[in-house]
């Protein structure tokens, strides 16, 4: 299965969350690929702690591949190449976790017919090798988004299952923006239909992930005053109504990742050790990531509503 990670705005938590989802899937035994199509800022490598490709690889990255300069894009075996001490000892029974980095300083580029064919070649190849392939897309209605919409509508891809995750933060602006990215005039659905997708089918394959959401109930906020708590509850309620009005309400939410202090400091994978041994991360965060990773392939959470 292919999973496209999109967001309207930058800095929503798209890369960090989807990298964590990839990690969680690999832990359960799936072979997982993580494709960095975030052409503007290829930083996924930093989250996996693979040093050589911190800001994209020097050569033979995904841009070079799509532009036909290299036949096979570089692959980084995360378990083997990460500098993260816990990840290096590949967890027992885990599947492969492979990162395909972008090129350093690649930037966005115009897609042509041949780049599209090459994109299809790549996605098909990954689909034969990996159980789940995550594709991190640049923010907004980017070239990367257009390219994968066209690729997934390509006749050669008609038997390849795919799903979309749209990430957004839990504020008024972000809710409206995320809805616009999907449902707006020039949104993913509209653009997908122009590329040849069936509207209902495409819509059924899109779910939302609310990232970095402060939970008013959480211990983190319990120090605050009653007035603060009441205010937060009211905002939360209002946001949920707003989301529902914008067709991104609870029924199409795959999961909610709580605001996690360590992620505000450092883009990283959250391991069980972070929660159990050193206790620097919150259990709720890990639980949420595990649950979203599980729901990715649980059909009861997908489909038409």
């Amino acid at each position: 299965m292919l999973v496209f990670a999109a967001s309207d705005k930058g800095g929503t938590g798209r890369s960090v969350t989807s990298a964590n989802l990839a990690y969680q899937r690999a832990l359960t035994g799936d072979h997982v690929a993580y494709v960095d199509f975030d052409f503007g800022s290829p930083t996924a490598a930093a989250v996996f702690d693979v040093p050589g490709a911190m800001r994209g690889t020097e050569e033979r990255g995904l841009h070079s591949y799509l532009e036909g300069e290299t036949a096979e894009p570089v692959r980084i075996d995360v378990w083997r190449q990460t500098e993260h001490p816990l990840l290096r000892a590949r967890p027992n029974q885990s599947g492969r976790l492979v990162l395909l980095p972008g090129d350093a300083g690649g930037g966005e580029f115009a897609t042509g017919e041949e780049a599209l064919e090459r994109c299809v070649d790549l996605l098909l190849k990954l689909n034969t090798e990996f159980d789940v392939t995550f594709v991190d897309l640049s923010a907004g209605r980017s070239y990367a988004v257009d390219m994968v919409l066209a690729a997934t509508a390509h006749p050669r891809m008609s038997n390849v299952p795919f799903r979309w995750l749209v990430f957004h933060r839990w504020t008024r602006q972000h809710v409206i923006a995320a809805s616009g990215l999907v449902h707006g005039d020039h949104g993913i659905i509209g653009g997908g239909v122009l590329s040849g997708h069936d509207e209902d089918t495409l819509r059924a394959a899109v779910r939302f992930v609310r990232a970095a959401v402060p939970d008013p109930e959480s211990a983190v906020w319990s120090q605050g005053s009653t007035a603060q708590a009441t205010w937060m509850q009211a905002r939360d309620e209002a946001l949920r109504r707003l989301a529902a009005e914008h067709r991104i309400g609870d029924s199409v939410v795959l999961g909610i990742v709580p605001l996690e202090p360590i992620l505000q400091w450092h883009e990283q994978l959250i391991t069980e050790e972070d929660v159990l041994s050193t206790q620097i991360a919150n259990k709720e965060t890990l639980d949420a990531l595990e649950e979203i990773a599980r729901r990715l392939t649980d059909d009861t959470h997908w489909g038409r509503l």
Binding site: A71, L124, T128, E129, R156, M157
Partner: protein, 326 residues
């Protein structure tokens, strides 16, 4: 410039093979295989049904003019053509294979194209060929811009995989492998020998051979295609078994075991036929591999494990776990 009559005998042949599962739900029958591999209109696809279904495309030629890879840093330019073909075994395993042979010396200056074209599959050095160093360079992996027959095999694979006949629904997940080979001259009077077979990386194998003068490079390529096919089969089945979480003991496990191993039975176990398509003289090169690491022995052990697992898990869960007596 007067055209040359002949080239000196080859002192090096090299090639690379890509092997992967055909991305299609059903194995292709012989007619579909012929369609898939009909790369050049008017040229026949080689088809054979015994032993086992096998189809091979006509050869394609790719012109090259670039430095040769070499282990000692020598940058020898070479010009000529590389031969490539695609092959399908039992309608299930797809291979593309590119190779060429290189004479010990070539003209000091580049000749007109026409002269190279009449020698398909020959790549001539400008001047003298440091063949040992180049063989090592080939096996070590060419640098960007050097002659890279692997790229040609990869390009052909990409082309075949774009064929509309393929529904892109492989029956199970698997990884492609690459096998690079280089064949150097054997000592006078010696027969062919396999000097080295290495598992270089996860998916890369390298093979170093010695062959008597006059051994056809098509014959060597056929041997290496065969090695690559069987190595891929072993690798793939080992990975299938690795993917099992044995001993967890839950009832749902039985389903998972059957789901994981069934495809091996349906699609792979009957493909093991080492040496079946290799000329008699070169087929003897299988012997050292059969001794150590013992390809067929390994294969039989794997087949047995798969059969055992399937038998075990076909039995209802209640009877499988024996309670220890108090």
């Amino acid at each position: 410039m007067a055209p040359r009559q002949s080239t000196p005998p080859a002192v090096l042949a090299c090639g690379e093979i890509r092997t992967c599962l055909l991305p299609a739900r059903q194995a292709l029958d012989i007619r579909s295989a012929a369609q898939l591999l009909g790369l050049r209109p008017g040229e026949r696809v080689l088809l054979s049904e015994r032993p086992g279904l096998y189809a091979r495309s006509p050869d394609t030629l790719t012109g090259v003019d670039c430095p040769l890879p070499s282990a000692n840093g020598a940058r020898v330019r070479a010009v000529g053509t590389v031969t490539a073909h695609a092959a399908l075994t039992e309608g299930r395993v797809l291979q593309t294979s590119a190779h060429c042979r290189l004479p010990g010396t070539g003209p000091d200056q580049r000749r007109p194209w026409g002269e190279y074209l009449v020698r398909p599959g020959v790549v001539e050095p400008l001047g003298k060929l440091p063949h040992e160093a180049v063989a090592q360079g080939v096996l070590g992996g060419p640098r960007h811009g050097d002659l890279d027959v692997g790229l040609i095999a990869d390009g052909l694979l990409t082309r075949v995989l774009r064929h509309p006949l393929l529904d892109q629904r492989p029956p199970f997940r698997s990884r492609p492998t690459r096998l690079r080979w280089a064949a150097l001259p054997a000592a006078p009077g010696e027969g062919p020998s396999l000097e080295r077979f290495t598992l270089a990386e996860d998916e890369l194998r390298t093979v170093r051979l010695r062959v008597p003068e006059g051994t056809s490079d098509a014959g060597i390529a056929a041997l290496c295609d065969d090695l690559a096919l069987h190595d891929w089969l072993l690798t793939t089945v080992v990975r299938m078994l690795d993917g099992l979480r044995l001993g967890a003991g839950a009832a749902q496990d039985a389903d998972a075991v059957v789901r994981t191993l069934r495809p091996a039975v349906d699609h792979l176990l009957h493909l093991w036929m080492p040496g079946a398509r290799v000329g008699r003289r070169l087929a003897a090169l299988w012997d050292p591999l059969e001794e150590r690491p013992g390809f067929t022995r390994q294969w039989q052990a794997l087949v047995q494990r798969i059969r055992d697992q399937l038998t075990l898990h076909a039995i209802p869960a209640a009877h499988r776990e024996v309670e220890p007596a108090p």
